[in-house]
């Protein structure tokens, strides 16, 4: 993972979130306040702008800047949550222009830990965590199995992560929300796919896409 791949990932994520804005918003309309698409699009749009005007020395600096931007530019819960995750990822990465796939995986887990520390959600609460946690587990498992430093290993691990995120996202449908606005609905939140888990899948899918090319 180098600066180019870090930028390519965030760019692909911004594209995907822009393309899916309405889908995310309509998921949020069912169990929230109809702004998740707008929030994510605004946030990643702001990340794109911030990165365009910066010259980060390594991928860590790219993600720290992205996280800081998300925390301050998104007006909803997803802003501080994804923002903290990206900041923690950025800070966890070793300095230098390039980091290996294992260090990047450890960074992804540091991001998850920060998100959980901030939001207090456990797996099964119908949140971002339900897509993010299995994605990180799948990333680590893929790396352990197939090994490999360099971007080959990372690409395969990212593919595994995206697949697990998609599965985790779909598995939120029958869950009852226990965190965030959807939790007000109690049992009535059951039967709907969580918007945040869906944006998490898009972000991991963007990583897989960027790493594959």
């Amino acid at each position: 993972m180098d600066v180019a791949l870090a930028r390519a990932w965030l760019d692909a994520a911004a594209d995907a979130l822009a393309a899916r804005t309405e889908e995310l918003t309509s998921l949020d309309a069912a169990i929230g306040d109809s702004d998740h698409g707008v929030n994510m699009n605004r946030g990643f749009g702001a990340v794109r702008t911030a990165l365009a005007g910066a010259s980060p020395a390594g991928p860590g600096a790219v993600f720290t800047l992205a996280g800081t931007t998300l925390v301050s530019k998104v007006g909803g819960a997803s802003g501080p949550l994804y923002g903290s995750a990206f900041r923690a990822l950025g800070k966890a990465l070793p300095e230098g222009a390039e980091v290996d796939a294992a260090a990047f995986g450890a960074g992804l887990r540091a991001g998850l830990d920060a998100l959980v520390k901030l939001g207090g959600a456990a797996p099964g609460d119908k949140t971002i965590v339900d897509a993010y946690a299995p994605a990180v587990d799948a990333y680590d498992a893929a790396l352990r199995e197939h090994g490999g430093d360099g971007d080959g290993g990372l690409a395969a691990a990212a593919r595994a992560a995206a697949g697990a995120a998609a599965e985790g996202m779909r598995a939120t449908v029958p869950l009852q929300a226990r965190k965030g606005r959807a939790s007000y609905l109690g049992e009535r939140s059951i039967g709907h796919q969580d918007p945040g888990a869906t944006s998490t899948w898009l972000i991991f899918q963007a990583l897989a896409d960027a790493a594959a090319t």
């Binding site: 306040d33 007000y184 609905l185 109690g186 009535r188």
Partner: protein
């Protein structure tokens, strides 16, 4: 229709801001009306504004009335003593948290009892 919500606050701004929040979570399906401040626009509560707000929010499905503090409670109660109506319920709930919970549940088409208890249960929620 769905259960309507009346916000009774000492401050017109507070009530209006909370109504904006409720619209965001509940959309246009839920009637949310406000009685904010005194008759002359200052801080306080107004019997007339409360009575009118209840009238506006009324629908066949009933209304929950949420007061912010002391004299909002007393004035709302005085209005309801004067105009008793089994479909209009004064609810004991934390103002903002109860109103949001009530709006979310009212938007699902829930009945008066369910909406009222969702607001009351907001006393037991925690934030951190």
């Amino acid at each position: 229709m769905s259960v309507g919500i009346v916000l009774v606050s000492h401050s017109a701004d507070l009530a209006a801001g909370l109504r904006d929040l409720l619209r965001q979570v509940a959309g246009d399906t839920v009637a949310v009306t406000v009685a904010g401040g005194s008759d002359d626009g200052g801080l306080g509560t107004s019997y007339d504004l409360i009575r009118d707000a209840i009238g506006e929010a009324a629908s066949g499905d009933g209304v929950v009335v949420l007061p912010d503090l002391g004299s909002s409670v007393l004035t709302a109660r005085a209005v309801l003593d004067e105009h008793p109506d089994a479909r209009v319920r004064l609810v004991d709930a934390p103002f903002v948290e109860g109103a949001v919970a009530a709006a979310v549940i009212a938007a699902t088409g829930a009945d008066l009892d369910t909406v009222a208890s969702s607001a009351e249960e907001a006393w037991h929620a925690r934030k951190l």
